[in-house]
Symmetry: C2
Subunit: 361 residues, 2 copies
């Protein structure tokens, strides 16, 4: 018996020895770690001097990389899952729920998937940027006065009340945790920079399932334009950022109470790349079916309508895209943050079933 095997057995025996203790099943990791991927540098003119060693002259700034925290369970499934958060969020999106339950990170690890959580460039643990944030970006400057915005837009309810069927937890501390999970942009929001880092990550780790949320959707759509290793895209409530359409199949913008939901044109040949992999898109509940002045339900009415056009054009061109509007299959009350909702384990099972159907587990 090698030393390595000996230690392995010792760990398992010690694990067995406590198996009568009543806690949840353990998460057994082969390894875990973190790294930066992608990014650029920019050098200031002038000459460095030790007398002014914190001055910019002659120094180089690093930035624009993504930060990645990965966990690989023993006996991991073939394709890792890579998680891209949305606007003003970080990888925190996929971690513990506001009420302290396990998030998608743990739930997919427990299903045997390797999990890669990304902080997009200029955000969270990837805070270095070679360009400053835009002055008029409301999510780039502290203090970020936004508790109403962040209650309304994610469709928790009509402030201060949750929607009657809301899957958001009802206690005060959950709302506190939810409000503290946001963060600021530390540089200009640039989807191309984010997609560059994301595609470099997937090139590095190999064929992957890419899971996006909200504004992160557009990073997901842009990634297969840069790498052939995206095996599937799963988008939770994509929106707040443009869907890509072929230049010869552009849709009309969808007007909403506070501006139109627009699409972005790309060459038809590039768009074809989005027809080469299965895509599934999920939307939750309390999205208006008719125009309304409540911005959350109305904004997502527009995004949902645009998503339907997006799915249609993909499928017309030979792709395999599915849109699931959850209330239509009997899953009610989901907010924009489905991964933290009370029924998040049900949503994980739903996605796992789809991945199995597509031969991806």
């Amino acid at each position: 018996m090698t030393m390595r095997k000996f230690f392995r057995c010792a760990i398992l025996v010690s694990c067995l020895a406590v198996s009568s203790v009543a806690f949840a099943e353990p998460i057994i990791l082969e390894t875990q770690g973190s790294f930066a991927v992608g990014g650029t540098t920019v050098t200031h003119d002038g000459e460095f001097s030790m007398e002014h060693f914190t001055a910019p002259e002659g120094q180089t700034a690093y930035g624009d990389h993504a930060y990645v925290f990965y966990q690989i369970p023993v006996n991991a499934k073939k394709f890792p899952m890579v998680f891209q958060h949305g606007a003003a969020q970080t990888k925190r999106t996929w971690e513990t729920t506001p009420d302290g339950r396990e998030g998608f990170q743990n739930l997919f690890l427990r299903k045997g998937f390797s999990v890669y959580l990304v902080d997009q460039p200029r955000r969270g643990e990837a805070g270095l940027s070679t360009v400053p944030p835009e002055a008029d970006n409301p999510y780039a400057h502290n203090p970020m006065y936004a508790n109403r915005t962040l209650f309304t837009l994610p469709r928790l309810g009509i402030y201060p009340n949750l929607f009657p069927n809301s899957q958001f937890p009802k206690d005060e501390e959950s709302l506190n945790q939810f409000m503290r999970a946001w963060t600021v942009d530390t540089g200009a929001l640039d989807f191309e920079v984010a997609a560059d880092a994301m595609s470099k990550l997937i090139d590095k780790i190999g064929e992957s399932i890419l899971v996006t949320h909200s504004m992160g959707g557009t990073i997901g759509w842009r990634t297969p334009l840069r790498t052939e290793k995206v095996k599937a895209i799963v988008a939770y409530e994509p929106g707040g950022s443009p869907f890509l359409f072929p230049e010869d199949g552009m849709p009309e913008p969808v007007p909403t109470a506070y501006g139109a939901v627009a699409a972005m044109s790309i060459p038809a040949k590039d768009f074809e790349k989005l027809t080469k992999m299965p895509i599934i898109i999920y939307y939750g509940d309390n999205i208006a079916s008719e125009p309304t002045t409540e911005v959350g339900p109305d904004q997502w009415r527009g995004e949902l309508e645009m998503a339907k056009k997006f799915v249609k054009v993909i499928n017309e061109r030979g792709g395999d895209a599915t849109l699931v509007h959850l209330p239509e299959i009997g899953i009610k009350g989901n907010t924009h943050f489905l991964m933290g909702d009370l029924n998040n384990a049900e949503l994980v099972d739903l996605l796992a079933k789809w991945l199995a159907e597509k031969g991806l587990d």
Copy 2:
């Protein structure tokens, strides 16, 4: 057999089934998760209107909390280890090393300690702040032109060369990873705010071993003034922030080439709290023994001298503080980022031995 036990056994069997495969021993977690702790809110005057739903009027900003990612191994030791990073860093400090080896996070998990990694308020995943950053803070604004500063101050070497005996990995990609592990302050740097959040964390999780790095040292010294649950403090190269001294035992500042290393006075009665727990302080190599114009070696000469005074006054007042200057015990070449150095596993063993001696494992 309960269902829970059944699943537990199934996992162990599947784990045993692959035990002939040659990978490292698994990390077996009872659970893991994240949350925000501490923090404040501030409300903007005016009235919220749905027409301008991103405007600050009438909205509340959340901020000043810490972010915590925790992992609890099965059969965890009694006292968790809580890790506080230094200046312009995040919990990334304790994760994977620049050359991709396991950091303190994994190494202490493997030794059976629960590990709590903290992003201090206004940093990383705790990016929300109720006050903006200081205009003149060089680590609060992008682009952060600082590659020379961040080579020099952490004593990697004399730019662009590593010190001959440096424990920093010699390949180019390691330097790239190191440079991308920094981040910006997203609000004013405030040690009291950080210590408030830290003490709330330790009050929440119970008696803990607090491990700090660099500027985080001062957060460590301030925490026992707020909670009685700090069982020990381990400080890696505290500095760049004031040591606390009793008002009736203030030391002279230590002059260095670029300013003096100062101390901060607190009431003697408060200082007594630092005599109630074992404290160990580690410093690495290539710290000047005489004044020099190279800022890294000179700055840490000053900090090391102040640390010696700090240890002396603690012990004079009945405390239990130890300072280990690693080269003096034959451990050579460590940079300021000891936890990422080539010999980091040796340093983990060294600390584990001390914790055992103090009855803390």
